[in-house]
Amino acid sequence: MFLRRSLREHPEFRVGAADMLPQAPGIAAWGLMTGVAMVKSGMSVVEALAMGVLVFAGSSQLAAIPLIVAGAPMWVILATGFCVNLRFVVFSLHLREYLMYLPRWERLVHGYLTADMAYFLFVRRFPQPAVEPHRRVAQEAYLAGNTCVGWTSWVVTSIIGVALANFIPTTWGLGFAGILCLVGILCSLATTRLRILSASVAAAAAIAAYALPLKLNIIVAIAAAVSLCLAVEKLKPAVTKEVRG
């Protein structure tokens, strides 16, 4: 956590911050766009600011916006947010080895602040979790420097995005940029044939079940897509083997 002085003064803190700096414009563009998209979709300034600062997860924020605007029930919004965030569950299994020696609340703060970029940079620099105390501190300081730059650029540009959005007329339809961003993430996840199947089944199911109340079509779509993919995996192990990796 970058609030602790001993970490801030460690040389690895600067290395972590310097590694994150080239990524900052990318994070900034995202934050800016998410800020604009939140307000343009009809969220109030307070709601948009709270979301940008607290939720700190662009893809689940963008997925939640249409659901919040449509008045979906909270559990559907949270379940959708969790599913969009599932990649972090996989990351947490990996980060566990690095963070387990820390007290729980420090683990939670580190975990909360470690978004995609910070995770990738951290495990690239430290392929193995440290065992000796001084190397553990170095790893923690690097992660703190990393997340400090990442968090700051996200939050500052989210706020700028929210502020700018008030000067742009709604009729321009800039909220659609949020959907385009999700289209890009969707494409980036389409790396195996079974995942493409999952996306196609989910889209068809979400459209077919659109009339369901409470945006339950999304939950139906996730359940249908995941169970079908698991069934195909079981029936056709050859396909799975071929596309895995």
Binding site: G42, V46, M74, I77, S92, C187, I218
Partner: protein
């Protein structure tokens, strides 16, 4: 939600989403005990994120007021297609947004699609 006004329930939902961020990012180190997911759930993790995104995104692109878009003259269709092509060309999500909006804004503002 009433547009413009701040809704308490929405704020509670936002705090809930922040807790979801913590839950997902810390999933395997919240508890100090060692444990793991059953194998089927671990495999299911591969397919759920793209399913959730697809279920949210595609209706937003292909539907208007609960029905499939009745006409091709809809800026969203062309913008989303341009965005997807841009992604597979440059492998960059920012390019998707730039290319998609470059198609969306002229069609939407210029032609009123």
């Amino acid at each position: 939600m009433n547009s413009g006004g701040t809704d308490l329930w929405t704020l509670v939902t936002i705090v809930g989403l922040a807790c979801i961020t913590v839950l997902a990012r810390c999933f395997f180190f919240i508890s100090s005990k060692s444990w793991s997911l059953p194998p089927w759930a671990q495999r299911g993790l591969q397919y759920a994120p793209i399913a959730a995104l697809s279920a949210v995104v595609l209706p937003e692109v292909l539907m208007t007021q609960g029905h499939l878009v009745p006409t091709w003259a809809d800026a969203r269709l062309f913008a989303a297609a341009a965005g997807a092509i841009a992604y597979f060309w440059k492998r960059d999500v920012l390019m998707t947004i730039i290319a998609g909006m470059a198609v969306f804004l002229p069609l939407h503002l210029g032609l009123g699609w």
